[in-house]
Amino acid sequence: MSDFAQFTRAQMAQHCAADIPEGWYVNLGIGIPTAVADHVPLDREVIFHSENGVLGMGPAPAKDAIEPWLINAGKQYVTLRDGGSICHHADSFAMIRGGHLDLCVLGAFQVADNGDIANWATSENDTAPAVGGAMDLAAGAKRLWVIMDHTTKSGEAKLVSTCSYPLTAMACVKRVYTNLATLDVTERGFVVRAMAPGLTLENLQARTEAKLHLSA
């Protein structure tokens, strides 16, 4: 691993943020995805949505300026930009299920090269599974991007030909940002858009269970 520089978590979030155009309605999942918002400059207006009916979130509040009635789906305190609005849970998920979100960014355990995503349970018989809004977001948003480490801590591939963990949704991931590469999910499978500096396709493939392609 010493012959190349992995992308940091901040860089992964930056890569994703750079690809979000002004005017998109975007839901960011818990974890690294939430950090994407920090890398979208305020003058590029992107409208961030949270499942609990909050639309138009701004930067995190200063500690002495917390509004206790304003949290996101991760139960963190948030702010609203001018132009923000509130709706109830059914209307909020109507936005999601009705295909009104341009983008959802989630973390994942595994992504398959047909776009399947597994991000909510690590075994078929988790004692008390917890899904939250992930299935609605994955199935409902116009496009789903994933930010995750390229492999597990023990080195197992997370970009796979078939997910072994329980699915969150089928055939919906369009792009994956990892600490090693950015990849599109296409009809051919994973197509590499960018790699960490110094990394070769062979090295990347060695850390990827699914077959990788270069863009034509």
Binding site: Y25, G56, A94, L101
Partner: protein, 227 residues
């Protein structure tokens, strides 16, 4: 900077295609996007399917669109509003197709389209002509029929206030079908009486969040007329 406010009717109407399904909000003349309907007449799209509560009155607005032969099919609950002469003439001549839908069913079908619900069951219409040919299902001892989402390619909406993100409020009974038409349409076009600076509309008071709105045209016409 996001700015959904357009400056001309031509910009508001750009891209509406022949064969489109157009959802028209409004109930009576209150909260009805009359100027946008005139804009659609001017724009020229034809072979339209129009869903609205009524089928037009007199010789203006939707009635005029029908008289011009631009409406292939109308989906509505009550085509017998005051003076529906244009619709009735076309209907008798067999030049327009009518799909009659109970008012609550048309509202729920539009809402379902906006909410990503392609089919649902309702008790409304069971045992009536409305149920003929429809899927029936007994659920917990009561009979229901299946109804399908009613999607709009284009939605025409009238708001009281709007901002550049497309957040809307409505005034009193001007709300009616407007919020659900905005939800259910791929291209939602709004005429608004008032344009407000971003942030002027309190987040708790927004009726239609801008996510459901594509274009806003400022048309401060004042109070609705009689109907």
């Amino acid at each position: 900077m996001i700015d959904k406010i357009v400056q001309t009717m031509a910009d508001a109407m750009a891209g509406i295609e022949d064969g489109a399904t157009v959802l028209l909000a409004g109930f009576g003349s209150v909260g009805q996007p009359n100027q946008l309907i005139d804009g659609l007449i001017e724009q020229g799209a034809k072979d339209l399917t129009v869903a609205a509560n009524n089928a037009g009155s007199g010789h203006v607005g939707l009635a005029r669109l029908i008289e011009l032969g631009r409406v292939r099919k109308i989906v509505c609950s009550f085509p017998r509003s005051s003076d529906p002469v244009a619709f009735e003439t076309a209907y008798r001549a067999g030049t327009i197709e009518l799909e009659i839908v109970p008012q609550g069913t048309i509202a729920e079908r539009i809402r379902a389209a906006g909410a990503g619900v392609p089919q649902f069951f309702t008790a409304t219409g069971v045992g009536t002509k409305m149920a003929v040919g429809k899927e029936h299902r007994e659920i917990d001892g009561r009979m229901y029929i299946r109804e399908d989402a009613l999607y709009g390619d284009v939605g025409l909406v009238e708001a009281w206030e709007a901002d550049r993100w497309g957040n809307l409020t409505y005034k009193l009974a001007g709300r009616n079908f407007n919020p659900i038409v905005a939800m259910a349409s791929k291209l939602t076009i709004v005429q608004t009486q008032h344009v407000r600076p971003l942030g002027d509309i309190h987040p708790d008071h927004v009726h239609t969040p801008g996510i459901f709105v594509n274009r806003v045209l400022h048309i401060p016409y004042g109070d609705p007329g009689s109907f």
